[in-house]
Subunit: 219 residues, 2 copies
């Protein structure tokens, strides 16, 4: 099953690479405005191969990727979002409600690729190592794969947007996957209409980014 | 609070960078064998700054980083691990138990840096956007920051090991942080003794890596 092991020496990363990596992290965005241009399917599979290089607890590899292609399934997900987003809007008042209503929170209208990413809670790999006291690390392993996918995509000029305003159980039902599968993230994927270095929600006045120094303590 | 916005154009990533990124993903490892060499504190802070470029739901930036320095606190965490690991070992039988007992599952003995990473469930940023139906995305945001930290560290030759065999509530108590803080991951950080392209648990016969194609379905 495994590819032959690469015997080449461990890489050293030079200054140009480190600068590029910082650019990649700074220019990754949650994209909600896509071009309709197709993403080549071999490129998408390459990105999923890179995503699966993420760490996983016990090497459990519990990620499951669903390429959501059928128009009727996409329509069901979009209706799911619309209902949840109307509920969410109802929680805000005054200016904050007005602002929320103006935010573009998904790319369902144009993203050529939609990916639902699940945790398989019935997965058989990993033999339970590392999950007895913190079983949530299985879900976290899937999140690591999503963040890896996101960075790999951006490195190739492809944008990703993570939609969390969804009823997760209904997504699973709409996609007709195992009841053992727990939705971790629903991703819109495609070439972005525009590039920004500042986060969407910062640019539109919802929440600015603050210095990480506020969030570091010593003990 | 925010730095002036970078007005430079969005970067294009060239073939050399893409090859380097693939190397980075392939050679990132969960490291448990460290050199005792110190990690410069400004380098650690630089890595945390990069970690905070991770996406977060509603731009909530709910990550909190605790640099665990005090020997007595480190000793408490290690005792916590030893107790949890003895419990975990008791769940295995026969050959699997023998194998489990040989695995090195933490780097507490030598890692010069220990970082506890929390979710602040009482965080005040983000105004709740995106968290009504899937509040677990707050924890997932912290995981994205950890994975980003991990890759940034590896790019500078620094290894990271994530220890999840811990009683999370006791870790919080040992570190005397707010009850609103939920442990997401406990990290050992330092220069690695050795470099490998194959995952530790694969190399030692616990769980091999499988092709991601097994985990992709279409709908």
């Amino acid at each position: 099953m495994n590819a032959p092991l690469d015997k080449s020496p461990a890489p050293d990363f030079d200054a140009a690479f480190l600068a590029g990596l910082e650019d990649l992290l700074r220019w990754r965005r949650d994209v909600r405005r896509f071009l309709s241009d197709a993403v080549p399917s071999d490129l998408l599979d390459e990105l999923l191969t890179l995503a699966a290089l993420a760490p996983s607890v016990g090497n459990s590899q519990p990620w499951r990727f669903v390429k959501v292609n059928a128009p009727e399934r996409r329509a069901a997900i979009r209706e799911n979002f619309e209902a949840c987003n109307a509920d969410a809007l109802a929680d805000y008042e005054g200016e904050r409600a007005k602002l929320y209503a103006t935010l573009k929170l998904n790319g369902f209208d144009q993203a050529p690729v939609q990916l639902a990413v699940f945790l398989d809670t019935g997965g058989e790999l990993g033999h339970g190592a590392g999950t007895k006291t913190m079983p949530e690390t299985l879900a976290y392993s899937v999140v690591g794969a999503i963040q890896t996918f996101w960075l790999a995509a951006r490195s190739r000029g492809i944008g990703v947007g993570w939609v969390s305003i969804l009823d997760a159980d209904k997504v699973r039902e709409s996609l007709d996957v195992s009841e053992d599968w727990q939705l971790i993230g629903y991703l819109c994927v495609g070439y972005p209409q525009e590039e920004h270095i500042d986060p969407e929600l910062d640019r539109h006045g919802w929440q600015e980014r603050v210095d990480v120094g506020r969030f570091i303590v010593e003990r």
